[in-house]
């Protein structure tokens, strides 16, 4: 039962890590902010996927529970 995390959960660490590297290499906080924006977008996308999944499954359940 090998489970891999979704892309969105990897976003946080990778985002912060890349940002930190950006500051270290370029001395620029703008790099960090840009990566942080990307991470927030990815996490929001993950939440959207979750909401969509819940909605679709709820609709399917409603359809199945409908009496013939």
């Amino acid at each position: 039962m090998a489970q891999h995390p979704p892309i969105t959960s990897v976003a946080t660490t990778s985002g912060i890590g890349t940002g930190a590297l950006g500051i270290y290499l370029h001395g620029s906080w703008e790099v960090n902010s840009a990566v942080a924006v990307l991470s927030v977008i990815l996490m929001t996308f993950g939440l959207f996927r979750l909401f969509r999944g819940k909605f679709v499954l709820a609709q399917a359940r409603k359809r199945r529970d409908k009496p013939d």
């Binding site: 039962m1 489970q3 990778s14 270290y24 902010s33 359809r63």
Partner: protein
């Protein structure tokens, strides 16, 4: 349904379909290896299904404990109350382990069976599980396999704080994994062997694929007796076999006959550490859809120690290295490239954790003032809220699990631990081939 009810599950004589679902013949195959402690509850949960099985076939696989006696006792009990569907097959010298037992069980299945349920011997299933699965199968004719939502079996009384901690973090992991299944509702990434319902036709396709591959390999060996089949040629043979199988399906050739030509079903691979993963990818390759259902629920045992045989490290290393083995065999193909991409991301994440710590340590040593950009602060807050939301609807959650998830520290440390196992498993896959479970 409360978990406590499932744990104390009692055999039910009064059973019947709770919804108006047309009856289709379904069976259960339960391979068991020295499962004397757990098999009783597993069998009771199967016999208590609202959608009754034609039979529940327990396959005792090289058992040296009291498993066979316990199953025989339960068989006698169920027969005495008019429930003859519990059957026992004993394999004394099975070399194929769990896969061998499942293949043996499948080869004995009658022609008119439409659905096959496979599960582990340390798992308990919800009483509506099969009913929910069959309703979904009837709605989706292209679906070949449906796995359940997985939850952890409750802890026994009086265990140490360390075991409670390990159980809690794995319960969080299982709950988050169920949320990922909702996200990926269109297709399951793997049908875990813990508890999964298959369409018999889909399993027959996989069995037929195995027979065609065997046939093509024999042809190859006849043509080039001194040239062994390497991984590259195996991939080519498999591709050709899939084409032949699809053609046979188009021409409606009886696949059951082709499977029987191989004498024994080779559906679950005996040369792989994660036979369920290979079967999932094979089903996808042939053209079947694989799904997960949150309406099908099962409770499974989790390791309560880190090291040693059957510890957390041991279990995960087997899963992960088996996954890498399989993906290396398949290379960048339609159903494996996204999997490979996610493993790349996982390793990137591991590297980034080190970059994160070392970059900020250097910044601190150099005396660079840290500017707390508000957006940057929003990241962990959002990650925490997202994780808490994903935890919603989980089973057996307590304040500690909510605290661990909300503060991120423990869950991130656990994620780091799993990433380390993954990194180690990649090395093991490359440098230690031919490993055994």
């Amino acid at each position: 349904m409360g978990t406590s009810m499932l744990v104390d599950v009692t055999p039910s004589v009064e059973h019947g379909r709770s919804r108006n679902v047309k009856y289709h013949k379904a069976i259960a195959l339960v391979p068991v290896y020295n499962g004397a402690e757990t098999i009783g509850k597993t069998i009771h949960s199967l016999m208590a299904q609202t959608y009754p099985f034609e039979y529940v076939r327990v396959i005792a696989n090289n058992c040296t404990d009291d498993t066979v006696e316990i199953v025989q006792m339960l068989q006698a009990y169920y027969q005495s109350i008019g429930r003859p569907e519990l059957e026992l097959l004993v394999m004394a010298k099975n070399k194929g382990k769990k896969s061998g037992a499942l293949n043996y069980g499948l080869a004995t299945v009658e022609d008119d069976i439409e659905f096959v349920f496979g599960m582990d011997d340390d798992t308990i299933v919800d009483e509506r599980m099969i009913e929910e699965g069959i309703i979904q199968f009837l709605e989706e004719p292209q679906t070949g396999g449906i796995c359940s939502a997985y939850r952890t079996l409750p802890l026994p009384e009086g265990v140490s704080h360390w075991k409670k901690f390990l159980w809690r973090i794995q319960n969080i992991e299982f709950t988050l994994a169920n949320a990922w299944r909702v996200e990926n509702y269109k297709s399951a990434r793997v049908l875990p062997g813990v508890s999964v319902l298959f369409r018999m036709e889909a399993l027959l396709d996989v069995a037929a694929l195995g027979v065609i591959i065997d046939h093509l390999e024999q042809e190859w060996l006849a043509m080039y007796p001194r040239k062994p089949i390497n991984k590259r040629w195996h991939r080519r043979i498999k591709r050709r076999a899939i084409c032949e199988l699809r053609e046979a399906k188009r021409q409606k050739v009886s696949l059951r006959d082709r499977m029987l030509a191989g004498k024994i079903a080779k559906v679950w691979a005996t040369n792989n550490l994660v036979e369920d993963y290979r079967l999932t990818l094979d089903l996808k390759d042939i053209g079947w859809q694989v799904k997960s259902s949150l309406d099908m629920i099962s409770w499974s045992d989790v390791p309560l120690k880190l090291r040693g045989k059957a510890g957390l490290w041991d279990q995960r290393q087997r899963w992960y290295s088996g996954t890498i083995d399989e993906l290396r065999l398949r290379r960048l193909k339609r159903h494996s490239r996204y999997e490979i991409f996610t493993i790349f991301l996982l390793m990137l994440n591991l590297v980034m954790r080190f970059v994160l710590v070392s970059a900020y340590a250097i910044l601190a040593i150099k005396g660079v003032p840290i500017r707390w950009v508000s957006l940057y602060l929003a990241l962990p807050v959002m990650a925490s809220l997202t994780s808490l939301y994903r935890l919603k609807g989980g089973d057996q959650l307590d304040k500690w699990q909510i605290f661990f998830t909300g503060t991120l520290v423990v869950t991130e440390l656990y994620a780091f631990y799993r990433e380390l196992i993954y990194a180690y498993s990649i090395c093991v896959s490359f440098f230690k081939p031919n490993r055994e479970w």
